[in-house]
């Protein structure tokens, strides 16, 4: 199938790629741009491992077509850390052992950041429901929820 030329912005960088129109944004990120941090756990929008920020909205990039990225701004896990240090959520996830295998971790970090960017004082229930679209099979979520709550507290205290 003839490929389509797409111009977009990923993690602040201008990016161009050619895509088969059947490919998802996740396929494009992973296979054309080399950003393999976003993972495919299901391909059907059920697991959240491919979570990205798409023009300010949290999306499952496996449910977005690559061609839809034209003219948009996309944030992935590779753009989450600052130049000098990790994002507070990334740091807290390591400190509090909020990951085991780490496969769901990029999607959960992106989703958690999207929450804290909107609300830095969520209740535990709000965190649990916000992350209900991100499956983790290793941790039982306990340490993930606690790490997000602790990060929110740190953010509030330093604000």
């Amino acid at each position: 199938m003839t490929k389509i030329h797409v111009k977009t912005n990923i993690n602040g960088d201008k990016v161009e790629f050619l895509t088969d129109p059947r490919e998802t944004l996740l396929d494009c990120l992973r296979n054309h741009i080399g950003l393999t941090g976003s993972k495919e756990g299901c391909g059907t929008g059920d697991c959240g491992a491919c979570s990205c920020i798409f023009d300010g909205n949290l999306v499952s990039s496996c449910l977005v077509l690559g061609v839809e990225a034209e003219g948009k701004s996309i944030e992935t896990i590779e753009g989450m850390a600052g130049e000098k240090e990790l994002h507070p959520l990334q740091k807290k996830f390591i400190e509090m052992a909020a990951l085991q295998c780490g496969f769901c971790t990029p999607g959960i970090l992106i989703a958690a950041k999207a929450l804290l960017d909107r609300n830095n004082d969520p209740t535990e229930s709000e965190v649990r429901y916000w992350l209900a679209g991100n499956l983790c099979r290793c941790t039982g979520y306990d340490k993930i929820i606690k790490a997000v709550m602790e990060t929110a507290k740190d953010i509030r205290e330093t604000a």
């Binding site: 199938m1 088969d20 059947r22 992973r30 296979n31 950003l35 393999t36 941090g37 976003s38 993972k39 495919e40 756990g41 299901c42 391909g43 059907t44 059920d46 697991c47 491992a49 992935t76 896990i77 590779e78 989450m80 850390a81 990790l86 990334q90 996830f93 390591i94 400190e95 509090m96 052992a97 990951l99 085991q100 295998c101 780490g102 496969f103 769901c104 971790t105 990029p106 970090l109 229930s125 965190v127 649990r128 429901y129 992350l131 209900a132 679209g133 991100n134 499956l135 983790c136 099979r137 290793c138 941790t139 039982g140 979520y141 306990d142 340490k143 993930i144 929820i145 606690k146």
Partner: protein
């Protein structure tokens, strides 16, 4: 090592440092199975049977092979003939021969220049099937007139007159069973059923393989055990094992399901047929659910006798388990776990391994133990209710301890069941008052743990830091625990140790990260290897000081003279020894190879509080406690993580998860939307108590901690539901409809 040494304080063990692979895993840099590509790489796709049972009468791939970009198509004809035994089962499960045995069974595979072309080609392959009768349910499959899945499937153990689908039979026991029941004040029995569950790792299977016609090849693969992958691929393809180099990727969960082969031999065969081009295959989620290795489904009869003051007198179990079309359900392990927590004067066990038209079961966290626990621990709870006895007290009265002979044979060394029961009883969760429609359930669980073949090496870097090389992939923080044990052994900082996971050519054979063995077995081997290098360093220092090597000892990263008689020398640091290596005899490295034994048995006790909505049957888990003996928690955060993760997998199995088959024998819920694993909003925090009764056979007291936690949730939740609304469910999962039916009719679901 003497037990008193185990009680000593540690400098690093028991602390909670950041894991060494933390940065890679929070930044997206860590490379998992599907994250690599190679120059000239092709993409593979697999054609799978749409029928539960069929004879394959013809495969025509002429049209498919003419598509632009298709480079290779393989069928069973591309694999060796003359294979038998379990290798034949492995091969049959990898790619069907004359028969397709389950929905999703691989029939053919394609390698093409793009994924899209490979999938298009799959659709162009023409297969003619003669559809055969199928059987899915374990109780149906064991009937004498059930559809026959395979002729001559039974082994020597199967009694005459059994269903042709019985692959093997097992029976063992001890004591006077009938006499035991005669002595009981209450004898109770029940039938219990559990449905198949999937490990549900979030990372689908993925590999990239390359194989030349000279039999040399390499593979990158997400697996719990790359030597297993090498061994199995070599055996089904007729290769020499040493010519195949297998490198493990980071692994996105396994839980036992990534200890065997599925797509890996297909990728190798496709590579060979396409002239040695690398071939990558990544499974879809539907393929993972249809065609990898879920656990067995089970039908179980239990009978238990008890005195009115709560002492068990006798018990018998008959477990019937199907583990797919090739046998291999964990019925033997289930029987071993059934009564293991208890001193049972008499115990009798019967097990049937039964064939059904389902995918071949793989291991899933404490294989067999959750089913056994559901049956036995539910019935014990029924007994406690009938006799008005406290469920923890009854378990304490009967709990096994050091010196007891287990229900299945082995004698226990130092174990921590009693301490774990006491810790659970003392926890605040056991005394919080409950409201209407709320109930509390208790259950114990057991896993025997495993050591297995292990090979490691350590080497001193030129600046005195240490490289450790192990063969057990890190699924949940084992790099951290191994680094902690290494730091402790040398007396050097945790950050001065780097743990590498090596490919198959770098070490001797290693069993996978399974059986709760990585921290236990690799840790024990690393301790031995590190001590080899410490001994070598002491010898070099002795030569330098010109004293006897026995007069030098090692402490906190320094070689020191052993007392005043040895001489007056300033201690020499590992840094200095390392900087002088080239002058004192060359590189300093150690290695250790062993079949690790003395694994230390693992016991856990869970307390679950639930609320049941009597109008909808929905169960809400209010609070949950895991108490488990870890022997010694090397990195307590990751020990807690194992407890919590295991408990939540058990909660999923108890409440939501099941393989749902249609009348056609095809899987109806091959997606995460329909095969519903627990999500964050389903759950409370999972409270944990780490009990530490050190394993006397491990240098640091470690017991495996990974598996036991999945067993108790199944009965603990069923017991809690009964306590909440008086509905006894003896069939899993306890989905809302089933709960509602039990509330209304009293039927237990079996």
């Amino acid at each position: 090592m003497a037990k008193d040494e185990l009680a000593k304080d540690f400098k690093y063990i028991g602390t909670r440092p950041n894991r060494p692979d933390g940065y890679d895993k929070v930044t997206g840099r860590a490379k998992y199975g599907a994250d690599v590509a190679a120059v000239g790489m092709l993409h593979g796709a697999v054609l799978r049977s749409p029928y539960a049972h069929a004879r394959i009468t013809s495969i025509n791939f002429e049209k498919a092979s003419k598509l632009d970009g298709v480079k290779a198509i393989i069928t069973r004809d591309d694999f060796p003939v003359g294979i038998d035994g379990d290798t034949l089962n492995l091969l049959e499960n990898t790619i069907a021969g004359e028969f397709a045995y389950y929905d999703g069974h691989a029939i053919a595979a394609v390698a093409a220049t793009t994924v899209h072309i490979a999938k298009e080609a799959i659709n162009e392959i023409e297969v003619e099937y003669e559809v055969l009768p199928h059987v899915i349910d374990v109780d149906e499959a064991i009937k004498p007139d059930a559809p026959v899945i395979k002729n001559n499937a039974r082994d020597f153990s199967v009694p005459e007159g059994s269903s042709p689908n019985v692959a093997s039979y097992i029976e063992f026991g001890t004591g006077d069973i009938d006499g035991g029941f005669d002595k009981a004040d209450l004898v109770k029995s029940g039938r219990f059923k559990t449905e198949a569950a999937h490990q549900g790792y979030i990372e689908p299977h993925a590999c990239m393989a390359q194989l030349d016609h000279d039999g040399q090849g390499e593979m990158w693969v997400c697996t719990q055990g790359h030597w297993y992958i090498r061994q199995m691929c070599a055996s089904v393809l007729g290769l020499e094992a040493s010519k195949l180099c297998v490198t493990p990727s980071e692994i996105g969960g396994g839980f036992g399901g990534k200890t065997t082969i599925f797509i890996e031999p297909l990728a190798l065969a496709l590579s060979k047929k396409s002239g040695g081009r690398p071939v990558k295959i990544v499974m879809s989620r539907a393929e993972v659910l249809r065609a990898t290795g879920p656990t067995a489904s089970a039908s179980m009869d239990v009978k238990i006798g008890i005195t009115k003051d709560g002492y068990l007198t006798s018990g018998s179990v008959e477990f019937r388990m199907q583990g797919g079309a090739f046998g291999g359900s964990p019925v033997s392990e289930a029987l071993q776990c059934a009564f293991a927590p208890y001193n049972m004067p008499a115990a009798h066990h019967i097990g049937y391994d039964i064939l059904a038209n389902r995918p071949r079961a793989a291991a899933y966290r404490a294989p067999g133990s959750p089913m056994a626990a559901f049956a036995v621990e539910s019935l014990i709870d029924e007994i406690c209710t009938d006799l008005n006895l406290d469920p923890i007290d009854v378990r304490l009265k009967n709990a096994v301890k050091e010196g007891d002979k287990s229900s299945y044979g082995p004698k226990f060394k130092k174990i921590g069941l009693i301490e774990t029961l006491e810790a659970a009883k003392d926890h605040p969760n056991y005394s919080i008052s409950l409201g209407d429609n709320q109930g509390r359930g208790v259950a114990a669980g057991y896993w025997m743990n495993h050591g297995g073949e292990t090979s490691v090496s350590v080497s001193l870097a030129e600046d005195g830091s240490v490289n450790v090389t192990v063969g057990t992939p890190d699924i949940g923080g084992s790099r951290a625990s191994i680094a902690l044990m290494t730091a402790e052994t040398y007396g050097i900082p945790y950050d001065s140790v780097r743990v590498n996971i090596a490919e198959t050519g770098a070490l001797g054979f290693n069993e996978p990260t399974h059986g709760s063995r990585a921290t236990l077995a690799s840790g024990k081997a690393v301790y031995e290897a590190a001590n080899q290098t410490i001994s070598e360093m002491c010898q070099r220092v002795a030569r330098k000081w010109q004293i006897d090597p026995d007069a030098v000892f090692w402490e906190n990263g320094y070689a020191k003279p052993a007392g005043a008689n040895a001489g007056d020398f300033s201690p020499i640091s590992i840094k200095q020894i390392a900087s002088e290596m080239d002058q004192t005899g060359g590189p300093i490295a150690g290695h250790h190879e062993a079949s690790i034994r003395g694994v230390g048995h693992s016991f856990g006790v869970h307390i679950a509080d639930v609320e049941v909505d009597p109008e909808t049957g929905r169960i809400t888990v209010l609070r949950y406690l895991v108490a488990q003996d870890a022997g010694r928690a090397i990195h307590p955060s990751y020990v807690e993580g194992q407890f919590q993760g295991g408990a939540v997998q058990g909660i999923g199995w108890a409440l939501n998860e099941e393989y749902v088959y249609g009348a056609d024998g095809c899987l109806q819920n091959a997606a995460f939307l329909d095969y519903r694993v627990p999500v964050a909003s389903d759950l409370p925090n999972i409270d944990t108590i780490i009990v530490e009764v050190p394993n006397p056979d491990h240098p640091f007291g470690v017991r495996g901690v990974g598996e036991t936690g999945i067993a108790p949730p199944l009965p603990a939740l069923a017991n809690a539901v009964n306590a909440a609304v008086g509905a006894r469910l003896r069939s899993l999962p306890m989905s809302p409809g089933k709960v509602l039916k039990t509330i209304k009719t009293g039927e237990d679901g079996c």
